[in-house]
Symmetry: C2
Subunit: 455 residues, 2 copies
């Protein structure tokens, strides 16, 4: 074999035709969703008022190992997939490390991230069920943009509740969503009762993802032809995002590689869950013993400082309860925190894998994240999203450990997206005005105090 190329692409024919459901290979399943009123496990049909039926089934399916990707979704995928697996030759050179560093780059699409993988599936299934519209929330804006793109393509109306502080900071994200025909409402808003209640309590709030979720669900309930879509945390999202890891694995096979370490940033878990699941299968089935590292912001440390407990998925407390690592649905990351990765909880699947010792977690302060981003963009020529730069930071740390030990490990990380809409954060960093806020134990206790009395 000659030199490994900078970028390895699959052909369009090689793009996987099925998603992989990691639950089918997990020794133990995560605890069931509970109805908050009865504390009884939720049945599939109970989800039908929230999600469309096919997605509700996927949410509850822990046994089907592979699920066919519908042809219209595959057609959509062919507009931006396969994404490249990139060898970070120039980063390796700058670090002078014997490690071989690879990244799966999911940002070369207008949404600027991997979110389009799940958005395509959700819009397709909604259309196939005869629905006419969807609602959703967005924080940093990638998810809202991705769903706006997919809804424009499949012919659905979309209303996006955008966390107010992001709405103000990122007017251009709103512009992109509107260009795709979506309606964008800053949250909390006065168009839902939960929004009005939150505003009455705290008129000056900048909002939160949990609050925007509550508003989006409430609005979806008012229209029989409308459902809600969520871009992270859910089992269905990890299923759709499994395409990232499946493609990565095939690409690595092509060049004769297998990762010793798999690294992903983790907010709700959509990217890490998607990147790692095809490799986690090998670990769960005893074939390999790779390390998996979740990297989260020190300002929103659900895995590293959260509790493994039943919690609401939203601030308005209208969702089912999920057992996950959580900071409490009332937790709010500091306004200094830039970019996404600001959700109070973590995917129940990832939470379970972490709890059972299959995965590690680290947290990184914001200024160190932007240091890593700056080094990376000058060497690799891609300006990363702040979210993705968490994984870069950890990949650099592991590569430097290799330099110390002389080991030539193979590192794979997820470059989930680009930072083109995050320049105000970069400018704060460049000007030296970026603050690192790490919540004190007392601040965390305020979040934990909002946990429901279950267990």
């Amino acid at each position: 074999m000659g030199k490994i190329p900078y970028k390895t692409y699959l052909t369009e024919e090689e793009i996987p035709k099925q998603w992989y459901n990691v639950r089918a290979d997990m020794k133990e399943q995560h605890d069931p969703l509970l109805d908050p009123a009865t504390l009884k496990p939720v049945a599939t049909e109970d989800l039908y008022p929230i999600f469309c039926e096919e997605l509700s089934k996927q949410e509850m399916d822990s046994t089907t190992r592979y699920i066919d990707i519908p042809e219209p979704v595959r057609e959509f995928y062919r507009m931006f997939r396969p994404s490249p697996l990139i060898r970070a030759y120039n980063l390796e050179k700058a670090l002078d490390t014997p490690a071989r560093i690879y990244y799966k780059f999911e940002g070369n699409n207008t949404s600027g991230s991997h979110k389009l993988n799940a958005a395509a599936a959700m819009a397709y299934y909604a259309k196939a069920q005869g629905l006419t519209s969807l609602t959703t929330e967005t924080g940093a804006g990638q998810w809202g943009t991705a769903l706006a793109q997919a809804c424009a393509f499949f012919g659905l109306d979309l209303t996006v509740f955008m966390v107010k502080v992001s709405y103000m900071q990122k007017p251009f994200r709103k512009g992109v969503m509107e260009t795709y025909g979506a309606k964008v409402i800053p949250s909390p808003s006065d168009v839902t009762s939960v929004g009005r209640a939150i505003l009455a309590d705290n008129p000056d709030t900048g909002g939160s993802l949990g609050c925007a979720i509550s508003e989006a669900i409430e609005m979806s309930m008012t229209d029989e032809k409308c459902r809600y879509a969520l871009g992270s945390v859910l089992n269905q999202v990890l299923l759709h995002q499994s395409i990232i890891g499946l493609e990565s694995k095939i690409a690595m096979e092509k060049i004769g590689e297998y990762p010793d370490i798999i690294i992903g940033c983790a907010g709700g878990g959509s990217n890490l869950g998607g990147l790692m699941s095809a490799f986690m299968q090998d670990k769960l089935t005893g074939k390999t013993d790779s390390r998996f590292i979740a990297v989260e912001p020190a300002s929103c440390p659900s895995l590293t400082r959260g509790k493994y407990a039943y919690d609401f998925c939203d601030t308005g407390k209208i969702t089912p309860l999920a057992r996950m690592y959580t900071l409490g649905s009332g937790f709010m990351p500091s306004p200094n925190h830039a970019g996404g990765l600001r959700y109070h909880g973590m995917s129940p699947i990832l939470s379970k894998l972490y709890h059972d010792g299959y995965m590690e977690a680290v947290s990184v302060e914001q200024s160190k994240v932007f240091e890593a981003a700056t080094l990376f963009c000058r060497q690799e020529q891609i300006l990363p999203a702040p979210e993705s730069a968490h994984a870069i930071h950890s990949a650099i740390e592991e590569a430097l450990k290799c330099k110390e030990s002389g080991e030539a490990k193979t590192i794979l990380f997820g470059l989930t997206g680009t930072g083109y809409f995050d320049m105000s954060a970069y400018m704060h960093f460049n000007e030296g005005t970026m603050n690192d806020h790490i919540p004190t134990d007392e601040e965390l206790e305020l979040g934990f105090a909002t946990l429901p009395p279950v267990d």
Copy 2:
């Protein structure tokens, strides 16, 4: 052969190893650059104080057909090339046209455009000559970003004079350039004498590309280890950009296609010149008879309403004179004009080819450009740069003519970049507050009055 894929990539080995110099196949050369003081043709050495030596030689070389791409530039290219040739299946479907529409997408890199192709070459040659810094100008920001990326990689300091109105409208472009270590100065500025003179005349001016060029050249002259770099118009730029067309041609051969019509937006000519040159070779040598269409903004119509005359390349009148289609170096496009394509002149090579009947030109009003952009982004899922959307508009028009005539022509256009930093223009369009300004004959006369008395 099976179905043509959505995206055709070359392998990294297939990326051309030489640039193509279209002048070597032109029957007649464009008129020489003239020294404005003596009106004598400029010699290669006369350019050495402005450009580094290798680039000066490339600028004047009309006979070498193929020029080797240096290995470090090829290494840089491998980080973002090959770019995909994309079949616009979904746009075709939306238009219900028998035409086959392809686009070469050059926007999947952080600069957001094809500009990185020339930036890599210029930074490399400057470094190889032992220089320590470059200066340049930027309007919409793609070129400044591209050169900032290349300078960060090759280890050069960079000062960018950014047209003041863009500097104000696009603070995030400045942020990207600074993240790559460049110094960004709004132009006109008080750091050059030409800037101070312009400010003295007109303290409230928003600046122009021609003025920023003057400032960048003046600054480069003050330091023996510094030279100036320009991202369009020049022969060297068309040479470096020839990689676009060379790759496109190989990709089309792979899928058994050859374009009947080649379409590119045209400001100074960097993209169109690069996209078309490999195909123009076939036309110049009598092998094919494709149509070539330059699409320019109605607000800055150098080909369609300009004069073919000797003119300065800058507002400060310190550059050599070039014979080109021009609106006069004093012409200023309306402040309503969004994006790039605002230069007063046009590449001498393209001007000559147009003058000699090898190429057509059309102009499009801004609101029609954004209509085309919106249709395109909803179908093809890529939000185009306003510049690129000029070519989209023309491609759609040609595809609709095919629908009328029933002809299944093959159309190739250049999707030069993405519009992620142009959202304020999109938002004006979405809100119905975008104005189309087409210069009146009287306004054009004001520009022509600034032409030097040559010929």
